[in-house]
Symmetry: C2
Subunit: 534 residues, 2 copies
């Protein structure tokens, strides 16, 4: 705890559903009035959010123009034609115009009209921020809703602009969409697999006949094509889920990713684990489980025992191919190649760095844990393979974490409750399988003796929820005061507080500061006004 470095979000509270101030008809005024009255000694400052679509468009245009101008200037230096000199000055005129427009729009009065009912309120101490974040401020619980602010670089600015009223619809929509995707995923995949049979391919796409002339390739294609199609679909799923989670209106990117992580886990559980075990479709199976809940254990045990070898192969291939794909970053290479040959053709390549894809890696690894858990009872021989899998995974991801991916925000261990939940689901499934297995082996007393184990597991999970989950949701007063006191001792309190107040201002995309007289312009046309920059 003592190693926690200074974080702006500890001082800041996100306030949603800010009402209009009846006197001055602005929301900014309402925030300031409310917090300076009700948190008189601890309130520091506030930062409103603005609907910045126009501004962001202009900022984007400005950047593009600047780049064009630079390019033109470079070619101008080489050719020195008067035609191009003219072009440059019109471009400069345009750029100046846009910059002025941006400055005009970023002006206080203009911004006031674009106010959103969302604000970041900064307090003078971590303690006061923690107190304000956890309490109900307004007598109407749907106004001035406070919560701990996410890190400035983690804030999902676009989602904060979604009106609070339609947020529940977004959430329900995303859950529904994810559930439908999970349940009906098998249908399009089998359809595509049916179409992509080699015989049919020959008929519709005659060039595919070439394959026949290379000896052996034909059998490889017929053998691996369906599996490759399935893998391809599977590879897209995490990104699709992340996109859906984005529409769910979470206030921060980390929460989006956690949501996507949960959806991908349930997807994998349904479409890799259960779909392998059962014969029919997922929907039929769910229906049968619901109507005959007593048959679940024996059904599960029989299916699990029958599919042991398949999952052993799965762990092996996923371990070897999955980790090597992770190192090769094949998906990124493919994406890059496709991009450079299609819409990105001829554009300058921008170097890219991505953050660690937790939403893809955690569910995959959790699925392996689940398979290991369940087969620990049915086929313990799978465990050595799993140990190998995890050791290899540790080495691979350690390398990737250190050298390949970039940190875009601090997860602060927020993924642990999800992982705990996946392990809990795995253990429950293992215990249900155990009950079924003892039933199949005609040991009813052993089966009955296992039932309390399930109840104890559920009780333990409930205990963990009240003992550990609150630590992930609230910032306890004790910890806040501890860090505050240390800061006060070092005399850094004031600086940290001011720092937090500016952080949210700087990160808001539409408030990005522009220089009125750009260096590169002034060099040519207004050399004496160069100091006017704000």
């Amino acid at each position: 705890m003592r190693q926690l470095r200074h974080r702006a979000d500890h001082f800041t509270v996100l306030v949603r559903q800010v009402p209009l101030c009846p006197e001055h008809n602005t929301r900014a005024c309402a925030v300031d009035h409310f917090f300076s009255k009700h948190h008189r000694f601890s309130y520091h400052s506030y930062q409103m959010l603005y609907d910045g679509k126009d501004l962001e468009y202009l900022l984007g245009k400005q950047k593009k123009l600047k780049k064009e101008l630079e390019d033109k200037r470079r070619t101008d230096m080489l050719s020195n034609g008067s035609q191009e000199h003219k072009q440059i000055s019109t471009s400069e005129e345009k750029l100046r115009e846009i910059t002025n427009m941006i400055c005009h729009l970023q002006n206080g009065t203009m911004l006031r009209e674009k106010e959103l009912p969302v604000a970041f309120v900064t307090f003078k101490s971590r303690r006061s921020a923690a107190l304000a974040a956890q309490t109900q401020q307004h007598s109407n619980p749907l106004e001035l809703i406070t919560e701990m602010a996410p890190e400035p670089r983690d804030v999902s600015w676009r989602n904060l602009a979604i009106p609070q009223k339609i947020l529940p619809l977004n959430k329900i929509g995303v859950i529904l969409a994810a559930a439908l995707l999970t349940i009906f995923f098998a249908i399009p995949v089998t359809a595509v697999q049916g179409i992509a049979k080699y015989e049919k391919l020959k008929k519709w796409f005659p060039p595919a006949m070439v394959i026949e002339f290379i000896p052996g390739l034909s059998s490889v294609v017929t053998g691996y094509l369906p599996s490759a199609i399935l893998k391809g679909f599977m590879y897209i799923i995490p990104f699709a889920m992340l996109g859906m989670a984005y529409l769910g209106g979470s206030i921060s990117k980390s929460k989006e990713e956690i949501k996507a992580c949960n959806m991908v886990f349930y997807f994998l559980m349904g479409n890799v684990f259960f779909l392998t075990l059962i014969s029919g479709s997922l929907l039929d199976e769910i229906g049968e489980y619901l109507t005959h809940p007593r048959d679940i254990p024996s059904h599960l045990a029989a299916a699990v025992s029958a599919q042991g070898e398949f999952f052993m192969t799965y762990i092996l291939t996923d371990g070897l191919s999955g980790f090597s794909l992770e190192i090769l970053q094949l998906g990124l290479i493919l994406f890059d190649i496709i991009r450079s040959y299609t819409y990105g053709r001829g554009k300058e390549r921008t170097p890219y760095l991505f953050s660690f894809p937790y939403f893809r890696v955690i569910p995959t690894v959790s699925l392996s844990i689940m398979i290991g858990m369940i087969y620990a009872v049915v086929a313990p021989l799978m465990l050595p393979f799993l140990v190998g899998y995890f050791c290899l995974g540790y080495i691979v991801y350690f390398n990737q974490m250190e050298d390949v991916y970039e940190t875009t925000y601090d997860t602060c261990g927020q993924f642990w409750p999800s992982i705990h939940h996946y392990i809990f689901v795995s253990i429950i499934l293992m215990q249900i399988t155990m009950v079924g297995l003892f039933g199949l082996k005609s040991k009813p007393s052993a089966a009955i003796a296992t039932v309390p184990l399930i109840l104890i597991t559920i009780a333990y999970n409930e205990y963990c929820k009240i003992r550990f989950l609150p630590s992930f949701k609230h910032f306890p007063i004790q910890t806040a005061v501890e860090i505050d006191e240390e800061d006060e001792k070092n005399g850094e309190m004031e600086a940290h507080c001011v720092d937090a107040a500016t952080a949210y201002n700087q990160h808001q995309p539409c408030l990005e500061r522009v220089k009125i007289s750009d260096e590169s312009i002034t060099n040519l046309s207004h050399p004496l006004l160069g100091t006017e920059s704000i």
Copy 2:
């Protein structure tokens, strides 16, 4: 809101699971350290809770002795015998001894050993108390759990002594017991009804033959006995549920009563409403509903249509007999008569006043609302009867509230969420019945069109939960600051705060102050020491 008079609980927070202070090995010290450090400017004082079983026993004994002494003195005045004079002085000696013992035990050092991990912490303003009550204090969420304190006279002192660790078991136990009582209630009742047939009574209890000699009485007994037995059982149920709720470990009497109210409502719904509708036992019916959820609407609609007349009679008899019983207070009269002829025989009658039995009245009235809701569609003719019922009920309960019952604590509208929930359940049942009814009348399109209505009702209930329910759980900062400011204007803040701090001290039963030298004793034996009283 402005009419809210001063309440001690607004300044006070109940703290549970207080850890031991490692230095001084007391919990009192830990509370004081924690709050004076983490709420430095707003913390006022604390009041520990003590395990006062011994003290309460002694206090009871003291009161009994005092009364005996007075009685003896009275007879002494009349008879003036020396024998009795001696008895009085030994009684006085005993009383003095006990009083000294109490004072010794109420002394600080002795109390420290009886400390419970529970404390009432008083703050200097309502705002600080509201902030502390709604936030997580300790980094371990299971230590120093804060919540808004109940009113001093509403605190359930005995329940606060239950260790937090076994509380979940208590809660689960009570819910299980209430569910079992609801489901299997019909079995003992039908058993007793079977035994209490007049023919059997004659055989086992020959004096019952007397009935035959009074013309007409025999038929009345045979006709009304089973119904009277059912009513008798029904009358006991609310008290049994209140007793069970008491074991559930709620921190206040009002919460116990709300819990009892909920349990009684579901009991009545199961054993008056559903048991009338169905043919078999409640358990069979629940099982059938769970296995064939699609049949519920048509099943319900058919049963409801068939039992219309029964419920009309029910509303009429319950309206006329129930309200007249309420006015006559027959239960209390019976209880009093039985008491005065059995264990209370010869004892002086203490006047008694009870608080309004919300846990009995609210569920009964809610059941009538439910019947009215459901029959509004099936048999609208029932509505005029219900209007009559409610008008009569209004007059009766208005009178009872004003003149008969005493207010033991302020409910503060805490029963409204429960009543809202009962009405919600009624509306949902009505709409399901509607679906079934349209299905029975072969109007499938109307039936399908009603389904969205159910979804909208559920969505509206969810909205109410987030819009109105928090107001019943938290004390919003805005309101707290408003009352605080008014108090500050009147200069009453300090007085109210001190008042709140002492209120919880005075109400704790084991800390009841006793006078060391009682007036009545000193008058006879130590006239000069009369001023020594503390």
